[in-house]
């Protein structure tokens, strides 16, 4: 996935002089995950560079650039370090278009790696998608494969609205997939049915897709047919795809790493209820993180959602 993202950035830098990239260590070093590696060399220090260590400034200055003709793609180093920029994001980035009644667009992408499972220090394993998805004016995008990462990122950079682009760091290098070198894009706001099935709908995104796919294998062995949907965009959420699937299966299980309460799960359950109530045959279930801090490495295996836990909940739902 790292390579696919790098390639998307490369294509956009090449194509559009107004694209600039910066963030802590994003220039010379190419980022702590090497996502921007080689880009400074290729496009020069004016277009791909290290910024001082201040997230509010990275995002706030990025907004200024977006208002004055550039298309900044800023990198925040980790999920847990996006919060110093929270005020700029919620108070300005997401609002400038509306505040100015359309006088200004905000063609800006805020990229950051997110999620657990890499034995990291505190603040390096968070999944704040619900926080950003609750902010009107933003779009929140999360890819689950290298191919999607490339196509969605290209759409994000081409979008005139501000995009929060969350990259599942756990699978940065885990999934091997041939991705075309050509430019292509994947629409923002559309979920994707990855596997068709009839007994239960499983909705997930990011690194959890892979875990769900493992769980589906277990389910299949147990004779359960699962329809797996990759949300891809957290906001604006693709209600249609979800509703259609729930109407078919009558059951829904949501899988996400973030703390359960007030997370993505609740929203999906609400949607299923509001639009497919009469089709529901079992209570929707959330397979999500505990309402706790993501533990450090030794505790993480218990916190992180495993395929067998997903299977356990799928089975529970189907057997209801």
């Amino acid at each position: 996935m790292v390579q696919a993202i790098n390639n998307a950035l490369d294509i956009m830098l090449e194509e559009d002089k107004s694209v600039v990239i910066y963030g802590e260590d994003a220039g010379k070093e190419g980022g702590v995950f090497r996502v921007t590696e080689g880009l400074q060399k290729k496009y020069g220090e004016e277009r791909v560079f290290d910024s001082p260590l201040a997230e509010s400034a990275i995002v706030g200055a990025g907004l200024g650039m977006a208002l004055s003709g550039l298309r900044p793609v800023v990198e925040l180093q980790f999920d847990g370090f996006t919060y110093p920029a929270f005020n700029q994001i919620i108070s300005n980035v997401s609002r400038m278009h509306n505040r100015s009644r359309g006088m200004y667009n905000v063609p800006m992408v805020i990229r950051f790696p997110y999620g657990g499972g890499i034995n990291a220090l505190e603040h390096h394993s968070e999944s704040p998608e619900a926080l950003y998805a609750h902010i009107p004016g933003l779009k929140v995008v999360i890819p689950s494969t290298p191919h999607d990462a490339k196509g969605l990122l290209i759409s994000a950079i081409e979008s005139d609205d501000p995009i929060v682009f969350m990259e599942p760091k756990r699978i940065y290098r885990a999934i091997k997939q041939e991705v075309s070198d050509e430019k292509f894009s994947i629409p923002i706001g559309k979920a994707k049915v990855l596997t068709e099935g009839t007994d239960v709908t499983v909705v997930a995104f990011g690194a959890m897709i892979r875990e769900c796919q493992k769980a589906i294998v277990m389910a299949k062995e147990a004779g359960i047919s699962v329809e797996l949907i990759d949300l891809r965009t957290i906001y604006p959420i693709d209600k249609e795809t979800i509703i259609e699937s729930v109407k078919k299966t009558g059951r829904i299980v949501i899988v996400a790493e973030a703390p359960e309460s007030f997370g993505v799960g609740g929203e999906l359950i609400a949607i299923a209820n509001e639009e497919a109530f009469l089709y529901l045959e079992a209570p929707p279930r959330r397979v999500m993180g505990f309402d706790t801090i993501v533990p450090l490495a030794k505790g993480e295996p218990m916190y992180m959602i495993s395929p067998d836990r997903i299977f356990y909940e799928i089975e529970g739902t189907v057997k209801f």
């Binding site: 001082p52 200055a61 003709g69 700029q88 400038m96 278009h97 509306n98 100015s100 009107p136 609205d161």
Partner: protein, 379 residues
Amino acid sequence: MLNTLKQPKEKIIKYNPEMIFENFDPREDKILRIIDNDGNVLDKELMPDLDDETIIKAYKSMFFARTADEMAVSYQRQGRMYTYPPINGQEAIQVAAGLLIRENDWLAPAFRELAIMLAKKVTLKEIFLYYMGNEQGSKFEFANHVLPICVPIGSQLLHATGIGYSIKYQKKDEVVFGFIGDGGTSEGDFSEALNFAGVWQVPVIFTIQNNQYAISVPVQKQTKSVNLAVKSIAFGLPGIKVDGNDFFAMYSAYKEAYDYARAGNGAVLIEALTYRKGAHTTSDDPSKYRTKEEEMEWDKTDPLKRLKKYMDKNEIWKENEEELIEKYKLEIDKQFSEAETATYPLSDIFDYMYTEMPEILKKQKADFELFQTWKENRK
């Protein structure tokens, strides 16, 4: 021996007049002041090269802004407008900057920048619309490169820095004016904006309108530094403290800052010492936290009176002020009336959230319309 920063000594690119910032070192708490409260010139050397016509124009701009400001307060009192933050007392700063700022230069205001917004061709109608509670007032019809009013204190300066980067990157001949209040200097964003501007060496003129208060909190409780201009040193920028109620001092400081930034030398910090003569906003009562004596003391430094005295002494001013004020009032009232007739359709809430409206919002809007119909039918 190895030493810290070893900043390469940046060559200053030539600009004129190249002296004021050097001569008024904020570390020594020096202040640039050119005329005294009675309009006498204190130092002829420092007097900027302005013809009478320009001085009169400046005075009229200050006068117009003050009249509009006072009328805004009274519209608010009449219940025809919501909260309004008066700029009364701070006109010299903004009008001085307004003389320099060009159409393509940028303005990143906080919310107490009426006079320079007018200079940038924002209309009073738009300002009124905004404070009547209509976002259409932030869509400037005639103004170019002006950001909307920014309420979250300090955050706008980062936008200014980012715009500075665009200008430099795109090799444009533009300068950014970023405004903040004294209280705003305590926010982390203030420091981050100046720090980034320093590192990126971008053409931004940061102005602190030090009007002595952040709502009720006096500037002495904001910081222990000797003044606010000196904060520039923390970010390697030139800084200067200026008498913000002295139009000539403000103009001179801005002129030098402008030339400096435009020539490519980077950002500058100006602390403009002034006084908020009015309330913080129309919902504030200053008598809770400051004395009449203090207000009267500052009143002696009033920028309009001061410039007027200068003009009188030098026999520049010839117009009838009463007539002028009547003319201004008519104009202001006309703009107010136009603002008052504006409507606010439901679609305004939804239309500008994204460049294209997502399904989710379309649905919410449609649902609300259904409710509205139900409500109508119920009557």
